[in-house]
Structure formats: C-alpha cells, structure tokens
Amino acid sequence: MTNDFGILSYGAYLPRRRLQRKSIAAATSWFNPGLRGLAKGERTMANWDEDSVTMAVEAARDCLAGVAPAALGQLMLASTTHPYDDRQNSAIVANALHLGSALRVLDVTGSLRAGTSALATALAVGNDALVCAGEHRLAKAASVQEMHYGDGAAALRVGRGAPIARLVAAHSETVDFVHQYRGHDRPHDYAWEERWIRDEGYMKIVPAALAALFKASGAAPAAVTHFCMPCTLPRVAAGIAKRAGLAEGSLRDNLAAVCGDTGAAHPLLMLAHALEESKPGDRILVAAFGQGCDALLFEVTDAISKLPPRGGVTGALARRREESNYQRFLAFNDHIALERGMRAEVDQGTPLSTLYRNRDMVTGLVGGRCRKCGTPQFPRGRYCVNPSCNALDSQDDQPFSEIGARVMSYTADVLTYSPDPPAYYGMIQFDGGGRMMADFADVDDGKLEVGMPMRMMFRIKEHDAVRGFVRYFWKAAPSGKQ
C-alpha cells in the first residue's frame, strides 16, 4: 500500500434513547435474579423507526460530513441484523446517500466479525470504499444478552488522499468456535456457557491472532496506544491485552456502561472512538471475535488534526435521552402483543414500481430546483411551483437531506396510529427555500416550538407486517443547534 491510502474519515451513530439497565432488572429479575448484578449503566435502544440500515445511513452521513465523495467505488454494509435477506441493504444506504448507480455494493453478514471483515477487505482491495456497519440486536426478555446488547452504527471511509490512519498490519483467524449462533428464521441468539467462551474462545483465539499479526509485521505490541476489543465478559479484554504484551492503559473503554455491545458494528464503533481521541503517531489495534478473530493495526497520521469536525461517538453519546420504560423497549422490539387499535390495521402495501420510479425522491429526499427562477421545491412537480414561473420540466435534482430546516407549525397527535404516541409532525421550512409537512423523530415532550432548527434523518416510515416490507423515508429531528 502506498502512503496516501488508508482510513480517510470516520462516523458514528447511536440511537438517542438509553435504556436503563436497572429498569430491565426491575422488570425481569423476579425471573432471573442474576440480572441484578448487571443492572448498572445504560444501553442504546433503537427507536421503533430505526434499524441497521437507517443507523448505518446516519453513521455514513457523519463520516462523509455532508459531502458525497465523487470517487467512491464501493459501499459495504456489515450487520447480522440486515432488515432484508433478499434485497441489497447496502443499495438502500447508497440511494439515501446519493452515491449514484456506478457503484459496487456488498452486504456483509453471518458473523460478529462482519464489520472488521468488511473493513479488512476494503483495505486489502485498495480502492475508495465506504464501510458501514449497523446493528439492531434482538434478545429475549430477561436474558443476559438483553442487558449487554446495544444498537448503533459506525462508518469508515477508506481510500486514497490524506489518510488519518494507515493500516500497519492485519491478520485473520477463522475457527468455527460457536460461542453463540442464530439459526435461519430465528429472532434471537442462542449462547453457550460463558466460562467456556472465555477460556476456550476469547483467551485462546484472540491472543493467537494478535501474536500472528505482530510476528508477521514485526510491529511492537508495546507500541499500541489504543486497543479496541469488544467483549462483554468481565476482565477478558484485559487478560488478552496482557497476554499479547500490550502496554498497560492501552485497553479502551468498550462503552458497556453507556452504549452496550453493538455486535458487528462494535469494533468499528470503538475504532471510530479511538480515532476521535487519538493523536498523530498513535497506534490503534482492533480485534473482533466471532468464529475466529480479525485483528487490524493502524497508525494515526498528522491528517487526524485536519479532519473536519463531526459528531462521532462522543457526539452520538451526548445526544442522549434516558429511557426507564422497559415496556416501551419490549413493544418496539415486538416482544409484547400490544393492542394497537384498528387504526393500525391500514394496509401498508408498497407498490414497488412506484417506489422505483420515485426512488431518489423517497430514499434520497431529492426534490427539484428550478433553473429559470431558482426555486427549491419538494417534491418536484413537472411544473415549477413558483406561481410567477410555472416553467415546465425546468428543475434539476435538489437533495434536501443535508439541508437544515426550521419548524413552522407542529402538533403532538394521539389519534393517528404511531408505535410511539404521540405522533409528532409539522411543517418545516428548509434553509434557503423549500418546505414540507414532515414526520418528526426524537422529539422531547413539550419541547417543540415554531422556529426550532431541525435536521433530516433517514428513518423507517412504515412496516408492512403482512408482506414483510420496510418502507423508509426522511423525518425531521431537532438538530440541537440554535
């Protein structure tokens, strides 16, 4: 690899709601008293309208910082919780990001290493790529996994330019060690005993992979400044660090207390977090466990200090709302049979031909801008909406997804069906023109006001439970800016 190749930028996304583990334990420890010992801190909780695709889109937007890269040749989306088995999930992400059709995309799945395997592959291939990973992890009520898991996404842009980190070495071990699995058509993971996973799994497979990486590359373990090792078992990551000869203090916080384990996304999320907190010359070691181990060693470059600001993991963690309602978590994950009412019975069938014709508008929030009068408008009609123009077919594509907006009017509606009532929505005016009536996301009760700045977010619009289709669109969320 040449010097100008490596990681160019990073991004992260975490759902805003943070489920308090003591709320989980309060509801479930009658059944499993052992959960009381895990009732500390909080975990991220996807909203009802978020999945691995929507979260990956948000992480990718954070990574691209509002600029669609012209040179991008490949998009990879890693997850063990892709919403579709047959429909390229990464193609949805690409459309939402306006990446165009001249693009190679790949869904990577099947292992908690999917994120690191995608990243390692992109780095090995050596072209411009966006590597995304997102997870919306499901676990049975009153399970240990429910306590440990979190939802979230990360994205890394790999390519030529001014890399913020270069790959020093990589090594992968593949061992069919089944510490947990999820069979086809099963919603939840099935796990074996933790002590066995620790002794025979993590403590043997990961050190072997790290040793192989250091041996082959000649890199010094003691030079590692950041060790990213997702693992929810106590003291295991520290034991691995010690066995691998890493410097004391290099082991990074696995975000268990504030986020939980986001599965295939977690190694990349920890890598993004490490990049965020690194300085030129730092060495970041990422290890991911799952039917073997991926190990990637990076060196941070001077370019890290010139990277434009972004939310990153720190920003995503700060965009937080405490959630103590465990029942809501169960409902969002379809674990209880709520009486949703007759208004929820409306047929949500999606005409695929309509979606295809309008895919840029729907998935990309692309409207029009009139060449004659300059009026931005959504959606674009054949005639310009400006009454003193009304020109025919005069509009160029105008994506609105990256444009800020302000609330013109709003309501909190308890009549219309929403999985999370009240339904918040209202008119928004985009900065620089264009407006629409939009659903709102991540709104705090009583906090909406006219003039409030909003930011568009890619979300689930409807679930068609009858046909198993998820329809996506954009919603306006408070941007937190003034």
Binding site: V346, D347, P379, T411, M437, V450
Partner: protein, 400 residues
C-alpha cells in the same frame, strides 16, 4: 364576460336527515330521509328532477362509487347522476353542480344530495385511509386533528398569543356551538358544556382536546334547485337565491413555496374575496346575517373568521370572547350547532349548512330563528391547512 351566479338560481326545497350515530340506519336510509323532506318541501315529484349530483367522500365505507347508488336508492328516472368528491367541500360541490346545471339552462330542476355513513368503522374519529400511490411514501403520518392543530402553533407564534388565551377562545367557540346544538332537534350532540370541560378534556392532537373536535356523524342532506321563474310558477314565495358560489383549491404554494406561515387558509381568503365580489358585498361584517363555517376544529373556526374578513387579522380571539359570534351576538356563527354539534357526515355537511341558512331565510328555524336574516354564508374546508379545498357559498333573499 361572466356575470356570476347571483340570483340566477333559487332553492326550491331542502331536506336533512337527523345527524348522529344512526346505528339502525344504512346510508341509503339516510338519503331517503333527506330526499323525502326535500321533495315534499319542493312540492314536486321525483320525475321532475332532470339531473342530479351526488356527494360522498368516503364511499368505500358505505355506498360505493359512482352516481348509481343515488339513482338506485331514489329510483331516479334514468337521468344524469354525477358523483362528486372534493374532501369536506363534497356536499357544496354537489350543490355547485346542480346550481350550475340550472344556471346554464341545460335543465330546469336539479338535485344535489350528500351522504356519509361514518359510524361503521368500529372506532372514533374519521376512518383511517391510505393516501394514494406516491403520497403514502412521503406524507407525514397526519390525522385531521393533527393537521388542523398546527394552525394553533403557527397562529400563536405569528400573533404572539399566549397558549392559554388561544385555548380559552377555542373553548368559547365550542361552548357556543353546544349551546346552539342543544336547540336543534336534528343535531348529533345536544348537550351543553362549559369552558372548563373544553380546557380539561383529553388531548387529541395538541392543543386540540376532545371538545375542540367536531362530531363524526352519519347523515344526509339535499337541495332541489331551479330558476326563480319556475319556483314562482310552482307557487313559491320569499325565494332563497344563490348569491355566490366559490371554490379555491391549493396548488402547492402553501405546502411547497411562498410566504404562507401555517396560521391561516390562503384558499379561504381567495374564495371569500371572489364570493363577496360575486354577491356584490363590500362590507361583509355589516351585511352578512349568519355564518355556518367549517368548524371541524375550534381553531379552524377561529382563523376562518379572519380569513373571511369578518374579524381583523390577529383579532378573532377578541371577537370570539366578546360574544360577537354567539347566538345572541352581532353575527351568529354555527347557529345550528355547526359541524361541532350538528355533526359532520362529510358528503352531507355543505348541504346541511345551506339547509340551516335556507330555514333561517325562510323563517322556519324554530327556536333558533334569527330576526330578519338577509344573507347567509357557508364555508367548507377540506383537506389540510397546508393543502386544501375551500368553498364559500352565499345565499340570501332573492333580489336582496
């Protein structure tokens, strides 16, 4: 050069069913109930009707599509029957078809009938429906109360009104309509309420509570229209004539463009101006005797009184709280209870409003009768504040 509709067509007869939760009746029964009254009032036989317009909005809930349900139910004699739908202006739209047919000279006598059977859904409020093709992909998850509730947020911000003051005026509007509805035997809701009832009612779509929302009802209403000469020939005196019939439909400017701020109805302002011109009315606050406006929600009535040019912009709260629109006020509004209490079977509503104006102008409004009304104005608003159909109709004593 168009000369407008003023005094070209008169009402020969009208009918209106009892509105409400008519659990024991089909839509067809309600149509017959309204038609029987209208036919008797007109003093004609069904075979004298030469064309008919049928208004129903949510036909999939009851009669189905086309003009056939009207012709079948009323046994109309192979005449042209046109089914129309234009959101909540559907009833007025049917009336417009019949009036224009007579005015054109194509027919002598025409019928407009509207009906809606809303209470077969199994739940309260309007039926939940798909929005059609592409709209489903991008329309917000709006309900009727949720879309109109936004008027309040925008109105408060624009006129710097305290939320409580606006809510108090909205409460006064609903209390007034309940007082009026209590005197109307055909009204759906005939109970009186207090401002505190309104203020403390369960929230539907902030800031609209239960009592800020109109009734969802079953009902039907009809009008039989003809020319002044034919009406006189049939022995009619004190003719009630159509003075203006205007409709304005959003073209995307509010929701996609322009300086509309969400606090008013751009369409109503346009339709009202055109209606006043058509009826030759220069000062409506002085000339109009009665209003029946589209009070689907209390806040809709409040801003509509500004859009119609009766209250000054930003001052409707004062007029409302001063009792200007009360039954005993300067210009009573919703003297029959309005959508709020008479009820809102969508396809029938525009015709129901005209029914009350017709009764008032004919001196037949019973306990609700006002002294010497001359001009009555009705208004419908269909859709959402951001994209809607607004109709304004003025009727009055022929020649006045």
């Amino acid at each position: 050069m168009a000369t407008g509709i003023r005094d070209k067509v008169v009402i020969l007869g009208m009918g209106c069913s009892k509105f409400g939760e008519r659990w024991d009746r089909n839509a067809e029964d309600l149509m017959v109930e309204a038609f029987e009254e209208g036919l008797k009032d007109a003093g004609i036989g069904r075979n004298q009707i030469e064309a008919a317009w049928f208004g129903t909005a949510i036909e999939e809930q009851h009669v189905g599509k086309s003009g056939v349900p009207l012709a079948m139910t009323l046994r109309l004699p192979y005449i042209p029957v046109t089914r129309v739908e234009n959101y909540c202006a559907t009833g007025t739209e049917a009336f417009r078809g019949a009036v224009y047919a007579v005015a054109s000279g194509a027919v002598d006598i025409a019928l407009a009938l509207g009906v809606e059977k809303l209470k077969d859904t199994g739940y309260g409020g309007l039926p939940q429906r798909g929005r059609g093709g592409l709209n489903n992909f991008f329309w917000a998850n709006i309900s009727a109360p949720g879309s109109f509730a936004q008027l309040a947020a925008a109105y408060r911000a624009k006129h710097r009104v305290d939320a409580k003051d606006l809510k108090r005026a909205m409460a006064h509007i609903s209390v007034k309509s309940h007082d009026n509805g209590a005197l109307n035997p055909k009204a759906h809701l005939r109970n009186r309420i207090t401002e505190d009832d309104v203020m403390n009612a369960p929230m539907i779509a902030d800031p609209l509570g239960l009592y800020d929302c109109c009734g969802v009802s079953d009902g039907s209403a009809c009008a039989i229209v003809t020319t002044p000469d034919i009406a006189r020939g049939l022995g009619k005196k004190d003719l009630v004539a159509v003075k203006a019939l205007q409709l304005a439909v959003s073209n995307g400017q509010e929701v996609q463009y322009g300086d509309w701020d969400g606090s008013y109805f751009a369409t109503t302002r346009v339709a009202a101006k055109r209606a006043y011109r058509e009826a030759d009315i220069d000062d409506p606050r002085k000339r109009i005797s009665l209003f029946d406006v589209h009070d689907c929600f209390s806040v809709t009535e409040l801003v509509t009184m500004e859009d119609l040019g009766i209250s000054e912009e930003g001052k409707a709260i004062d007029d409302v709280l001063d009792g200007f629109y009360d039954a005993a006020g300067k210009i009573p509004c919703q003297i029959d209870g309005g959508l709020k209490c008479f009820g809102h079977p969508i396809g029938a509503s525009g015709l129901r409003m005209l029914y009350e104006m017709y009764l008032q102008l004919s001196g037949r409004a019973g306990e609700r009768q006002r002294a010497d009304p001359v001009l009555g104005m009705t208004h419908n608003l269909g859709g959402f504040p951001s994209q809607n159909v607004s109709s304004v109709t003025i009727v009055g004593s022929y020649g006045a």
